[in-house]
Amino acid sequence: MRRVRPLPLGRSGPNRLMPVILAPMAYIATLALAGFLVVQGLVADWRAGMDGVLTVEIPAAADIPTTQARVSAALAALGAHPDVASAEVITAERADRMLQDWVGDAVDLSAFPLPILLDIRLVPGAGEGEAAVQALLQAVPEAEPIRAEAWLEELRGLVDVIELAALGVLALAVAAAVATVIAVSAANFTAWRSVVELLHVMGAEDRFVAGAFQRAALRQAGLGGLVGVGLAAATGLAVAWSLGRVDPLLVDQFALPAWAWWPLALVPVGTALLAMVTARLTVLLALRRLT
């Protein structure tokens, strides 16, 4: 059976512009969303890394025996506490290596009296380990818990700003895309107005006319969305590659969490659906005005 060719609503007229305009918007939206998700992932990683872990600093005393006594007292107090799963000295060698990375080879660390760091793992449900810290401070008043949480709280402000900025860019991209799709749909309808009026008088059902327009919009916007996300993926890969050249570990740090791929994959789908619904509403409203 010969089919009447569908009207070329997508391939001519203003609709042709849809992919060209929507691809950059999908690109920006994807990058903003990816940025937001990366930051979320980083924060979650930090929190997970810190959950149930405490670091305590025992300042070095003037002589080694006193220092050793403080460390023993601290380990004893912690070992006796029910909230503590394990407590151990971060060995001098390990601490040296961590520090040496910071200060570089030029400085000879063995010349300084370094504080002793205790690595404490809490039992699940021990919260932030306040009770254990209290017990420790009673035994060794000089001990200084290192408040990693506090440090994270300070970072929180920065993280909030970055997340808000990313969401703001995302919202702007979506708003611009909606406005563009409305404008393009209206222009497209105007361009096809005489044909639409003809079909209308020939007894075309509204859903037939709207269907032709929404299919074209779906295709064109979906194309734009795919191109935008594709370009964003290429950008992401380029960034990952550059990070990897700096330090392969950074790539893991900044990698998107597995669940975060879904929202990104939804960008082209969202773009296409947005255009489809907009085109449908534009056409149905315009048809209503035609008697």
Partner: protein, 236 residues
């Protein structure tokens, strides 16, 4: 005979403009053949627009198929429109579709495309002398050829009402006679035919009742026998 079209005190204006039809009252019985004649700008095309449900009246009552068109649900209008075939004064073929696709379009809109129907479309196009131009785009057809495609498109669904605006305006005499013959054949099988025309010649050659229109008013409703006394809807 029951009236298939009934106008009572109908007025039509475009937007905020003046009334281009005023107090138009007439009726057309099912199966009739009626010309609508009048000078340019008299309102013939506007009247046909009301007849084909392209517009609703600004005032008064238009009854098609026995129903007041203003009382018809919006969702029921497309179905009614498909029972009315229209030949537009400016043809209005769809430029992106070939001649045969333009004629298939009403079948497509009605959801009844089929091989048998396509054969019927080909036959019809042969008959109007376009057998060799079926796959041509409208822009490559002459005015007369386009008009014949438009007419084929209007009659393909076997409409109950056929409305034609200057259907012989762009064709030579021989083709014109053929087209009018087609209309008469449709009329013979029960289609109500309404043709707007300037052409005295056409009316003389194939005489039927003539509704006269001038300055938006009916000067003669044209139903010589039953029409005048039937104006109030009391036909025998």
């Amino acid at each position: 005979m029951e009236p298939i079209i009934e106008f009572s005190n109908v007025g039509l204006r475009y937007g905020m403009g003046p009334e281009v039809l005023q107090d138009v009252t007439f009726r057309i019985d099912r199966g009739a053949f009626r010309y609508i004649k009048g000078p340019s700008g008299a309102g013939k095309s506007s009247l046909l627009r009301l007849l084909s449900l392209g517009r609703l009246p600004s005032r008064g009552e238009v009854r098609l198929f026995g129903t007041d068109v203003r009382r018809i649900r919006r969702s029921a209008l497309p179905g009614l429109r498909r029972r009315i075939g229209v030949v537009f004064q400016d043809f209005r073929l769809i430029g992106h579709l070939t001649a045969i696709e333009n004629v298939l379009l009403p079948l497509h809109l009605a959801g009844i495309e089929s091989h048998r129907n396509e054969a019927h479309v080909r036959e019809l196009l042969e008959w109007v002398g376009l057998g060799k131009r079926m796959d041509a785009k409208p822009s490559t057809l002459s005015g007369g050829e386009q008009q014949r495609v438009a007419i084929a498109r209007a009659v393909i669904l076997n409409p109950e009402i056929l409305v034609a605006d200057e259907p012989t305006g762009s064709v030579d005499d021989a083709i014109g006679r053929r087209l009018v013959h087609l209309f008469e054949q449709m009329n013979a099988i029960g289609t109500t035919v309404i043709v707007a025309t300037h052409s005295e010649d056409l009316i003389r050659r194939t005489p039927h009742d003539v509704l006269m229109l001038d300055h938006g008013r009916v000067t003669d409703p044209g139903a010589r026998v039953a029409g005048l006394e039937g104006l109030e809807g009391s036909a025998p």
